[in-house]
């Protein structure tokens, strides 16, 4: 039975349920959100249909510029740190035995699927005064008194790197597994050390993959909404946190929707860039 184009109307039947579900519960809500971003806010959490631009006008404030700048900077830092650690790690992982690989993959998937609430709670424990990592340093004689390491920027950054690390490794994994092993062998035969082979051969050969992974991790980090709340101060709140805050606590749906539309545009532009980078042939 070969693949063939649908000929009768009945051939489309299997498509009806999935298509209806995706259109009704994804496309329509998405459009609703865009519409609401142009609505006028009423007191008491309501809004009326309208076509105003004032929700977008609020972007022009210095406060919003600060939030946006901080969110982007944080996401860039997370992406760079994660790829810098995950790339050599994943490379070594693909060179390990299948058994070792599977154990690592199971552990990474388990951590990746963990709720942001749990990750935030775990790091707030690790950074706390009474149960935290500083107690170990005191026991080792490196510090005099245990102290709390949160709230603060370092705590937010560490936890976000932790959250994004399994994602980064799993995004890099397929590309590195499929890497032609003869590349490195050739380099070794010609007398290059393993380290030199890695930096001079593997890294340049996969520069498109590295670029695409950086962007994907960046978008992933933009979505973090609980860690800045649990581990940071209000000045460490990202765009995602402010969207939640406006929607739920300030009851300003139109402004929340406008910020969300803005976040979609940033993410879509970057995902588009990834596809563009990915469509170019890897130089392998």
């Amino acid at each position: 039975m070969r693949r063939e184009p649908p000929r009768h109307l009945a051939d489309y039947a299997p498509l009806t349920f999935p298509a209806a579900m995706l259109v009704v519960f994804f496309v329509v809500p998405f459009s609703t959100m865009i519409a609401v971003s142009f609505f006028r806010r009423q007191q008491g959490g309501f809004y009326t249909p309208d076509l105003v631009l004032e929700n977008y006008g609020r972007f022009l404030s210095t406060f919003f510029a600060g939030v946006l700048g901080f969110s982007l900077m944080l996401a860039v830092m997370v992406a760079v740190i994660c790829v810098a650690i995950a790339f050599p790690f994943t490379y070594l992982l693909t060179k390990s035995s299948r058994r070792v690989q599977i154990v690592w993959l199971v552990c990474l998937l388990s951590i990746l699927s963990l709720s942001e609430v749990i990750i935030g709670f775990a790091w707030s424990t690790l950074f706390s005064r009474t149960a935290g990592i500083t107690n170990l340093l005191v026991a080792a004689g490196l510090m005099a008194e245990p102290e709390a390491l949160l709230p603060g920027f370092g705590a937010v950054l560490t936890a976000m790197v932790y959250q994004a690390m399994p994602y980064t490794i799993l995004v890099l994994y397929p590309a590195l597994v499929r890497l032609d092993p003869t590349l490195l062998e050739a380099a070794r035969t010609l007398g290059a050390s393993p380290l030199r082979g890695f930096f001079d051969i593997i890294v340049p050969a996969l520069r498109n993959t590295i670029m695409a992974t950086l962007i994907m991790v960046f978008v992933f980090a933009l979505g973090s909404y609980l860690l800045p709340q649990i581990l940071g101060r209000p000045q460490h709140w990202t765009l995602s946190v402010h969207i939640t805050d406006q929607a739920i606590y300030q009851s300003n749906m139109p402004f929340a929707a406008a910020m969300a539309v803005f976040l979609v545009l940033i993410s879509l532009a970057l995902v588009g860039l990834t596809l563009l980078v990915g469509s170019r042939r890897e130089a392998t």
């Binding site: 498509l15 496309v27 070594l92 299948r98 699927s113 932790y162 393993p194 933009l222």
Partner: protein, 267 residues
Amino acid sequence: MNARLLKFIGFAIVAVFMALPLAVVAGVSVNEKQSLIFPPQGFSLAWYAQIFTDPGWRAALIASIVLAALSAALAVLIALPLSWFLWRRIAPWANVFRLLGVAPFILPPVITALGLLTFWATLGVYGQPWTAVISHAIFFVTLPLVTLSLGFTSIDRSLVEAAATMGADDRTVLRTVVLPLILPYLVSGYAFAFVLSLNEYIVAYMTVGFTVETLPIKIFNALRYGYTPTMASVSIFFVAIAALVFSLIARFGDLPRLLGAMRSDDS
């Protein structure tokens, strides 16, 4: 330095970084007294028992499991006919629906959550428990969609052609050849969606946060009012569930292949 040693040190650093927070949470979860102290003082599994005996935590656990079971099932029901159609028919425009299925997973989650919040509020059913089931199914439909698409590409078309030559119609081929072959992919897709739904916070919170308390919502609410050891035991319990599910997938399926590690020539 010796390359093997270097590799071992690299692995050890990543392993410690990934395990450390969970190790500390596991430590505080067995404290005898209700205090946040590490290393733990005394040993007690009372906080694990509390997940099941305390009415609040038990209700949250049941709510989460019901939500995860139903939404993962709905996600598979959406993904299966779609991926079958894409495999069986030549219809490039239908790939739009594949894109729609993957989009909620790629975009920041708060966007899907806010979209669904405005949608349910506009319909006037905001806060109804069943809205969370549909919301999670849409949010996680990516996972069965990806695993099932992978499953379909792995089917040897000559098997299907043989069945068709012997006179089997579409329905018979689907039931006797295709479904048994893609069953492992269907199960893993369900399992992935189930575990992620169990842990999901923002979509559940924005759709039914004020009427239903799932476990992640309950942990976050509890976290705002200070520390209770049950938070630690529930966290470890969830890590254990995830590890168990993914180990089973690894044991009975091909995990590296599911994660995209196949040779490019057989894709």
